[in-house]
């Protein structure tokens, strides 16, 4: 029974694997569902009885809690280079991860084979954490009802695989058409459909279908023998209907304009100065500098600089920070987290006061609070831990122009990448790929290729003005890394003035280099 189901499933996948991207014109006839169902039962023969059996095995030597995480993901990538869509890559990921938890200890096993023998063996591996007798009685399952923050309107079956090539060809043509200075264009389309089933020893049974992907362009432009490059993407938890002509135009236009702007860019003077963070993607600073320090595992272990600050003032009263799994179609949105907790919205800082952390089930139990729905993992081969989803700061009352004027002399950051934080110190760095100088309260020369350094808690107290223009990062390529696991995230920020940060560069103040 089981092997028949699975063979049928893989065969269906083989058809769908080459057809994960759809053209908008095909939408109407392709309505489908990602509502909770019995997907893993239908396709793999995973029923409640086998889940009970595996959980019992995982807890056979004791333990407080156990869970199962079944995953089936089909990923595809199409790449264009030198005018041709000449690369197609695909990957199938299938398996179950089994976790035994005792206090804050974790035993973990996984298998890529959904046979009963292989799964029991993985459960036995997880159970080696403990050396006592089983004490828990497993309850019957309750199927979790969740919100749907990334509806899938399209069924992938039966779509001609070659219908996806024109998206990349259009990006290529538009990029070259926008400027004769563009000399190279690369474009790519990454897409995946992830099915998960979560079963827990406290009786939760949850299923989800998670679409995700992005389309990107990368261009090199040349002017007077000098070359510059840029990259831009749009995506998130999106089905194929997202990738319209409008998206293609935005990706091409933004990528080319960003590259051309760099020909006039300079490096600002190095040292401490006021920094204005533009709206949107600069929220990566919020993610790196502050968000990681609010993940509860770091605080449970007392290694975060925020571990003694609950209930204390950490910012000016106009600062409110939220981590949210319920935003429609953003890269970090979650109908259900990877431990079976429904998607939620969590306030971290309210009117300047630190009100809570981001919890998985282990840290929630440690702190005696409800899980916040932040238990996330890269895939079935990894155990979950507290991770951010979509992290953002609410807007203020000023206009963006007011904020820039208030800065006086400093820099304005438009686009960033490669952020990193040292949790215990709170020190962070991120790379400014696009920005401008601020001189006498006005935006002037473009700047590029500099790093910004600071200390998260200090920066939070140094936010002195917010505009009323909160924007979110709308890409799908953003991955947050922690303990070797990558998960998709998004972030948002209004235009924001930080009194002082260290700007790296080769020019010392006063012109010395």
């Amino acid at each position: 029974m089981e092997s028949l189901s699975r063979r049928k499933f893989i065969q269906r996948t083989a058809l769908a694997g080459g057809a994960l991207f759809l053209l908008p014109k095909l939408e109407a006839s392709m309505l489908s569902d990602n509502s909770p169902g019995n997907y893993f039962l239908k396709e793999f023969g995973i029923d409640e009885s086998i889940c009970q059996k595996l959980l019992a095995k995982a807890l056979s030597k004791g333990g407080d809690f156990a869970d199962l995480y079944f995953e089936y993901t089909v990923s595809n990538y199409l790449g264009l280079e030198d005018g041709k869509v000449n690369q197609s890559y695909g990957d199938i990921s299938l398996g179950v991860g089994i976790r035994t938890v005792k206090g804050d200890q974790i035993g973990y096993g996984f298998t890529q084979e959904l046979t009963e023998a292989a799964m029991i063996s993985a459960a036995a591996t997880a159970s080696t954490l403990c050396n006592m007798k089983a004490t828990l009685t497993l309850p019957s399952f309750n199927r979790l009802k969740t919100g749907n923050y990334y509806p899938v309107a399209l069924d992938y079956k039966g779509i001609p695989a070659n219908s996806k090539l024109p998206i990349l060809q259009n990006i290529n043509q538009k990029c070259f058409g926008l400027s004769p200075e563009v000399i190279k264009v690369n474009a790519g389309f990454q897409s995946s459909a992830k099915r998960v089933l979560i079963a827990t020893s406290d009786g939760v049974l949850a299923e989800d279908l998670i679409p995700s992907g992005f389309v990107y362009a990368s261009v090199v432009a040349e002017r007077n023998g000098k070359r510059e490059q840029s990259f831009y993407n749009l995506g998130g938890r999106r089905d194929a209907s997202f990738y319209t002509d409008d998206v293609v135009n935005k990706v091409a236009t933004k990528t080319v304009n960003n590259a051309l702007k760099l020909f006039d860019a300079i490096q600002p003077p190095a040292g401490e100065m006021p920094v204005v963070l533009g709206p949107g993607v600069t929220g990566i600073l919020l993610h790196e500098a502050i968000g990681h320090g609010m993940e509860a595992d770091f605080n449970r272990k007392k290694i975060s600089t925020f571990s003694t600050m609950i209930g204390k003032k950490v910012a000016e009263p106009f600062v409110t920070i939220i981590d949210d799994g319920t935003n429609m179609n953003l890269a970090g949105s979650l109908n259900v987290d990877d431990e079976g907790t429904p998607g939620k919205k969590t306030t971290l800082v309210e009117n300047g006061i630190l009100t809570g952390y981001l919890h998985d089930k282990i840290s929630a139990k440690h702190y005696g609070v409800e899980p916040t729905g932040n238990g996330r993992r890269q895939d079935f081969q990894n155990y979950p831990m507290p991770r951010m989803r979509n992290t953002y700061m609410l807007g203020g009352t000023a206009s963006a122009d007011d904020v820039i004027r208030q800065a006086g002399n400093g820099i304005y950051v438009e686009d960033v990448s490669n952020g990193q934080v040292k949790i215990g110190e709170g020190d962070f760095a991120f790379y400014v790929s696009q920005g401008r100088l601020i001189e006498n309260g006005k935006l002037t020369s473009p700047i590029k290729d500099i790093n910004i350094m600071g200390n998260g808690p200090k920066m939070l107290t140094n936010i002195i003005m917010l505009a009323n223009d909160l924007e979110f990062y709308k890409g799908g390529a953003g991955q947050c890394g922690k303990n070797g696991q990558g998960v998709p995230v998004a972030f948002g920020l209004p235009t924001c003035l930080v009194k002082s940060l260290t700007v790296g560069g080769t020019q010392q103040k006063g012109g010395q280099s």
């Binding site: 893989i10 199938i92 110190e425 962070f428 790296g504 560069g505």
Partner: protein
């Protein structure tokens, strides 16, 4: 060097079947890679296991070429009953790609010449590791770190990780390769209580092909604690132009910005500031960089590269002169160049004669960089900017720890500022690089 095992025999039989089926499905050429990995990971915190993780993974990666059209796809499912549909899917995906005259398997003449020496990539004693032995390793490292850290310790996480990987690759035009490799890692990360709310975290993780080559577990733990305590009181100083020393284990981070633009892909795509620099002086005469795949037990050692070309020792830079690029098969065809291998193995800068301590005494005011944070390097322009953590010295005397600072430069200028190479190559990495000394770099702070 030929390698056989039960897994390899199974791999060989499956690869032959996959190639046969793929050609029957319409492929002109194809290549299949098979792998199996067994790993164990044990972490300790507060003198008890925090994580015990163990599993075996496997993967099949199939590349299909049909009249200059290409597709590649991977699956963990080795059953022939399901692979049949998988193969059809990959072939169908290749058929819809646009024709690219450069997309082919390599010319088989380039497969010849593989070394027959034993690179000692797999520890024969790896299978002797027991669960108790692994726990004992993690405990010993944790104990040593806790003892050395003393009252400043907030948290110590210590661990052991080991893996055995078997790989097999075969192409339809004559390439066959097999490997068995092992690795064993151990180390600790410590968090300490500093002034105010600062809780600096330092670490020391080391790994080898053979477990017997690991340093003593006590030393591993003590160094983790010492490196953490060395971060205490880190503060930024005013922006200043100074000599700096990049510690051995951090050199690879900066060096990446120099060798990444040497790849033929970046050159052909016009994303390399080194594209026109072959044969030219790019760094000071102290910049000599070798790529040596034959280092016995080396973490980057290999018999053949991703294209199936026999690995070869290369002098990438000699006395500051850029000698050759990293050219794989596909981009060699696009550029009309001879392939040289597109990937690196063990990167080596020949060590100098003096220790870092001796060098610091002669440098006057200088910064020793012990870690990096964030940052990026632009392969098109050569500009880079990265956050740094380290120690400030003056005439050999320690002044203070520094944090929240940054260095920025352009690689074409930066490597000309290389004024000395220390005698301390970091051996627990495929980048076996010693500490390097640079003159006159802007270090940004207050």
């Amino acid at each position: 060097m030929s390698y056989t095992s039960n897994n390899q025999k199974e791999f060989q039989e499956l690869a032959d079947w996959v190639i046969d089926q793929t050609k029957k499905a319409g492929a002109k050429d194809c290549k299949v890679n098979l792998s199996k990995r067994r790993f164990v990971e044990i972490n300790y915190r507060d003198r008890k296991p925090e994580v015990i993780k163990e599993a075996t993974t496997k993967g099949l990666y199939l590349q299909v070429f049909i009249n200059n059209r290409f597709a590649g796809q991977s699956t963990p499912d080795f059953r022939k009953s399901t692979l049949a549909g998988f193969i059809t899917d990959v072939v169908d995906s290749a058929k819809i790609m646009e024709e690219d005259p450069f997309r082919t398997l390599p010319d088989p003449k380039y497969y010849a010449g593989r070394t027959t020496s034993d690179l000692q990539l797999a520890d024969p004693a790896q299978d002797e590791l027991t669960p108790e032995g692994r726990h004992a390793m993690a405990k010993a490292v944790e104990d040593a770190c806790l003892e050395q850290g003393g009252s400043k310790v907030i948290s110590v996480e210590a661990g052991e990780y080991d893996e055995t990987v078997e790989e097999f690759a075969k192409s339809s035009n004559g390439f066959t390769g097999a490997n068995r490799t092992t690795q064993c890692w151990t180390g600790a990360t410590m968090t300490a209580q500093d002034e105010g709310d600062r809780r600096p975290a330092g670490y020391n993780w080391v790994g080898c092909r053979y477990r017997e080559d690991l340093p003593s577990l006590e030393e591993v733990g003590k160094i983790a604690a010492k490196r953490t305590l060395d971060l205490m009181g880190g503060k930024k100083i005013p922006t200043e132009t100074l000599p700096l020393i990049i510690e051995n284990r951090g050199v690879a981070r900066v060096l990446y910005g120099l060798h990444d633009p040497m790849s033929a892909g970046n050159i052909q795509q016009k994303r390399s500031f080194l594209a026109d620099k072959k044969g030219q002086q790019v760094g000071s005469k102290l910049l000599t960089l070798q790529d040596d795949p034959y280092l016995p037990k080396g973490l980057g050692s290999k018999y053949y590269d991703d294209d199936g070309f026999p690995a070869k020792k290369r002098d990438l830079f000699s006395q500051g002169i850029l000698n050759e690029f990293l050219v794989d098969w596909y981009y060699s065809r696009k550029l009309g160049w001879e392939p040289t291998s597109g990937s690196i193995s063990n990167l080596i800068i020949p060590p100098g004669t003096r220790s870092v301590d001796e060098i610091i005494k002669d440098l006057g005011r200088c910064i020793l960089i012990t870690d990096f944070i964030g940052g990026n390097s632009n392969s098109t322009t050569g500009d880079f900017s990265v956050g740094v953590i380290g120690k400030l010295f003056d005439k050999g005397q320690f002044v203070q720890n520094v944090a929240e600072m940054n260095i920025a430069d352009n690689h074409l200028k930066f490597w000309n500022k290389l004024i000395e190479v220390a005698n301390d190559p970091w051996i627990y990495s495929q980048a076996r690089l010693p500490s390097l000394v640079f003159d006159s770099v802007v270090v940004s702070g207050v």
